[in-house]
Symmetry: C2
Subunit: 386 residues, 2 copies
Amino acid sequence: MQPASPYNGGVGSVRFEVVAQCPVTGARAGLLHTPHGVVETPVFMPVGTQATVKGLTPRELAEDLDAKILLANTYHLYLRPGHETIRRLGGLHGFMHWDRAILTDSGGFQVFSLSSLRKVTDDGVLFRSHLDGDEHLFTPASTVDVQLALGSDILMALDECLEYPVSHETARQSVRRTVSWARAAFEHFRRQGETASSLFPIVQGSMFTDLRRECAARLVELEADGHAIGGLSVGEPRALSLEMVEAAVPLLPRDRPRYVMGVGLPEELAEYVARGVDMMDCVMPSRNARNGCLFTSRGRVVIKQARYKEDAAPVDDHCGCYTCRHFSRAYLRHLFLAGEILFATLATLHNLRRYLDIMRELRQAIILGAFPESARRLCALPGEGK
Amino acid sequence: MQPASPYNGGVGSVRFEVVAQCPVTGARAGLLHTPHGVVETPVFMPVGTQATVKGLTPRELAEDLDAKILLANTYHLYLRPGHETIRRLGGLHGFMHWDRAILTDSGGFQVFSLSSLRKVTDDGVLFRSHLDGDEHLFTPASTVDVQLALGSDILMALDECLEYPVSHETARQSVRRTVSWARAAFEHFRRQGETASSLFPIVQGSMFTDLRRECAARLVELEADGHAIGGLSVGEPRALSLEMVEAAVPLLPRDRPRYVMGVGLPEELAEYVARGVDMMDCVMPSRNARNGCLFTSRGRVVIKQARYKEDAAPVDDHCGCYTCRHFSRAYLRHLFLAGEILFATLATLHNLRRYLDIMRELRQAIILGAFPESARRLCALPGEGK
């Protein structure tokens, strides 16, 4: 068993330590101790959906980006190659050759966004695979089992993800179900006597602050090692996403990490950090990279544009990534237009570096007591680079 | 000007040195001195068609594979992004961040295989781009100019590539034209006073030994720094390809490198080396990699096969590549079935390593006087691995 710690009274092995706090905003710098290393927070977690961050080797993730934690998708890995297969091959860490921390999501978001013919009951959710149409059942207990088979360091409890907008009544029913599923998940998780991982519940409640608060209050009773806020980035205005975070955060214990799922744009990261968020993930940097949209310290570069045809400058001359150290915008544009695989690699390396650099800058600013200035500068980034 | 050397009386800067010779076969080990480093021969050159070896960073090519020379395609780069663009961006070496040697082909093969509506005259070949249908003219002089703009270390003279089979008369006409184009190319090349690169002519002659011999004899008069044998791997039986090489090689000077274009399978490499060939290139290792066919020391592994689903072994337990050191067949199969970009990277890294390892093994065997045994073992590889 993990020895009792001053930071953490939960059952799992993830411990959180706040090392500095912004005196003006809710921003804090912390250390997240996991069985696979210490993660400095606030942290952005690159998304490795199918046991790979698209386009990058684990060596590039560790050595170029110094990423300390990745997110992988329970839904995808459950369907292919199957969690039992991954368990037999050493869990996700062994399977994908990643010896740092891994967080897995609950599967809920993908069930509700990718699968068809789903049927939600109090027991769980019945759905058809987007790959072959086969029917599967996810329950609070089964998704814990899947994530334990994957060997995840941080697991998520099954939640119901709603589209936007929905009625207050629909959202209320859904919060009731998410809370009941979370209780079932924790009961099952604790029965396993698992000490090498932690389970986080997910605050839902659509875009209703009262429901967000109620959901958070109920979930805190579970005494989890950390808490997630989900159901955002589903089409709502950005101001509303932030409002939902603002509603939930004050109810979540200060000594546990707070994780907002599926956000955000580079210029939004500081907004969440300012509200006391410690962890984030998003496909944005990697997906946009593959689509030719590069994030820089001066805004976006849409690499296919003709003005970059003979541009010998790097994507971002303030960036120290492998791509910016060695390749011109002109070369990247050529790779993009030629449909070359190397474009995905170089662009993803750069965009993820940009996200991680922003988070490192914010963390440093918190520690130095200069978070508001840093945040203001980062939030004011233009949409399109020179 | 390059100082006169005992190895090389040509005009260019590439010098060749034979360091060992097999007493039984025609195999020899050499050193190819280029303006961008020394290349140990026999050598296999990875193909970087559009200024990138598909799926690999130049760092992986240099640090993982220790490739000393790459091939790039004149036709592709001429059309996109354009040779003048590449010249302005530091030539191919600067553009793609590769400071080792680069060989460019003549453009002939792609004009004859990819473009449409071509018209061949004694002046050159008029063709339509496979990208946008625009009309372009390649002449012996213009393709030299394109390759000089690319900053290639080794250029190829424009040649006419025939389909297979053709009549003796057609092949005879084509040899006449290829020789006349080569003369024009050398005249133009020498007028430029270029000292940082060498131009190789290409022996053609379809599958007729008399024409191959005649073509080789005529081209040797140009006193080039090296010679290529082209027009193979166009659908002919493998025995015939080897016969054409056997016909041409004895006519090519022993103190200059011999390059057979577009070959071959792993088990064929030793066959060419045995016949006195020093340089080869082929898309096979990289293209097959992307299609899930992996070459190993025990034969082929077709990674999608169900038997690899939970196979924890590396692709080849005798291989020291990044892929084999860290990833299982099961993981590679998963990446392949999931259509992940990382598969292309890991598979290409492995297949190219296999080709380069074979060439290093053959070179070592030549130096140690054990080439025939090595060659016999490598030529007897089964088609399908365990």
